[in-house]
Symmetry: none
Subunit: 200 residues, 4 copies
Amino acid sequence: MTSPPQGGRPVNAQAGAALKAAALRLVRERGYGKVSIAAIAEEAGVARQTLYNRWNTKADLVLDAVFEETQSYAAAPPLDGERACRDLLEEFLINVFSHLAVNGGVLRALIAAAQQDAAFQANFYAKFVLPREKMVTNLLQRAIERGELSADRSPELVSSLIHGAFWYRLLNRGVLDASVAKAVTRDVFGPPTSAAGGDC
Amino acid sequence: MTSPPQGGRPVNAQAGAALKAAALRLVRERGYGKVSIAAIAEEAGVARQTLYNRWNTKADLVLDAVFEETQSYAAAPPLDGERACRDLLEEFLINVFSHLAVNGGVLRALIAAAQQDAAFQANFYAKFVLPREKMVTNLLQRAIERGELSADRSPELVSSLIHGAFWYRLLNRGVLDASVAKAVTRDVFGPPTSAAGGDC
Amino acid sequence: MTSPPQGGRPVNAQAGAALKAAALRLVRERGYGKVSIAAIAEEAGVARQTLYNRWNTKADLVLDAVFEETQSYAAAPPLDGERACRDLLEEFLINVFSHLAVNGGVLRALIAAAQQDAAFQANFYAKFVLPREKMVTNLLQRAIERGELSADRSPELVSSLIHGAFWYRLLNRGVLDASVAKAVTRDVFGPPTSAAGGDC
Amino acid sequence: MTSPPQGGRPVNAQAGAALKAAALRLVRERGYGKVSIAAIAEEAGVARQTLYNRWNTKADLVLDAVFEETQSYAAAPPLDGERACRDLLEEFLINVFSHLAVNGGVLRALIAAAQQDAAFQANFYAKFVLPREKMVTNLLQRAIERGELSADRSPELVSSLIHGAFWYRLLNRGVLDASVAKAVTRDVFGPPTSAAGGDC
DNA sequence: GACTAACCGAGACGGTACGTCGTGTCTTAGT
DNA sequence: ACTAAGACACGACGTACCGTCTCGGTTAGTC
């Protein structure tokens, strides 16, 4: 509603990308807590104020940086009825866990940052947590509809159990590999039936 | 067995207690991140160095402070066979959740601190996380032995699902009340049998 | 010739002046050793780091502060041949001594600081000691050329005798007044001749 | 007036000597300012309180330590009339300067300490400065009586000129060797007469 | 031979100052 | 309007000394 910016130097689009790249690189190298905002700006070859023009906090910047990278993977599994929900869940978890091998440290730091900054927590939850929770909730809802899961299970509750196991192990530096994904799936859905692979 | 003090002015035990009390009070009032080490020492009426003599970090101090308070509650449920394991679990969770109403904020901060400091993480895990995980694992093991739980459930995995749900909701500021405790218990053990209350 | 600032917020010149003024005021009030860097910054209404941006040590700051004040007095006497060198020396000493009534305490502290910090010693010597020594050496050299002083006196040695007397008395809190200035002058030049006041 | 101490453990004389030795050793090695009281006590294998039982400040301890060492040299020249005063002065200065090669650094630190602590200044002046000043004053007085020096010279003033030259050069890290001693003597007494060596 | 009181080691304690670091805001000049 | 550069106010950090204190243990000399 404000008058569109007339004249003035245009925003340097490269600066934002350079900042995100620099942030990810440094945070992975040194760890989130040992990277200062000034260091990121310097690494990106950019003034500090330029960073503040785009993000409010280091956490917001890093969130954007990993978010971009993460868009590719962990996409919602296609609930198109061709495959069993238990298989989709297992695949989803394996996929997520495999990417945590790379981004686990960064995510741990972001979860920590969210505990210290309510504004960032809301941002992080909306951008990162909720979508993944929705994916699993939807998948479980579908499983109930298809009869793969007992109707008296609550999709929301089971979803938080599943994500919880993932968070708990991530934050306590526990093992998170394919075998865990399979075990979680099995615990939720029960032992696979001999006629495994009913449609989802 | 500990190294003998071997002379020297004895440690002032009051100072340690005053520091823990001051830490808890201030952290609850202002929030963990807004309390400086200096402020805690001042509130306790103690020199800053005295604090450093006992704890390496603010997190270690606060951990000790809540740990002490927490010793009373969340004690291991008595696996004496008189009550059903599902009831014991439910009671345990209700108990834990009710205390989180008081200490939830502090614990969130400590979990965050653990993500930024490996040494503290180890301390926190050993003192706080592991014991509670063990309690639940033991309880579940017992439940399997008594036939309350299917033998093909893994106590360790289920334990991390249960704790995970708790962590996940705590860290995302979700609801954590008695109804959640009951729902979790029900999801793990299944709907209560009519002849509820078999021995555990 | 200096490196161009090349952008960036310009240095706040008032801050430097305020710091020097505050330093002098506090050091005179409380004594050098009882004034902390933090107190000076606070008195100047300036951040501590701003002080560190300009000076490395408290001594360097205080040196600059007194140096500025001292520029006015103790200027090199005009060796223009109109007045006798002995009169010029006497005047110079009277002038210096009178200002020591104000700055003596500060100077004693700076001399002390120079004994504990080689870098500051070099700075102090170059800015403060050497110029005054040169003044006297030049004056004495002129006196020899004009025959007021025996040619076998060494200007450098006599200069250090003169300055030495001043330091020795300053550091031992001895008397330093006009009568001492006259006595020193008389001892160096001998009793005034009846035809006093040959041109210098 | 208080009752003399009856009974009780006697003072450990070795501790004092060990402290003085440790102080000198450390101060010479690291420099006065970089040696803490705790370091001296530790080096001496003695408790910190034991040091405080004997001396009020580090400066007092170090003063005692060098004073002891210095008693041997720079003794008052024998004004027995057998040798010329100018020779005695020259010898005295050569002697003093040669010992400054060893203790110069320590003395510089003590002079600095005296500027920061009035109580120590009085102690230092009485024990160290005044005796040496008296020696020279007496010698000059004798020189006047013997006619080696003009009667209108003031022994006190000349003494402060001589000591001043020494202090000034010491504190500014100037040269202090035998040639300076000879030059000072020559400047004070004038060129040696052909019939040098009248009795003093 | 027991008593006694000053001494000693060790080290915790209340204070104070230090220099460094990071943050978010600001103020220039330049694009 | 945006950028690069960097000064600034603010505040926390961990360290280093200082001088005092409080212990338990060790002495001689005195009763």
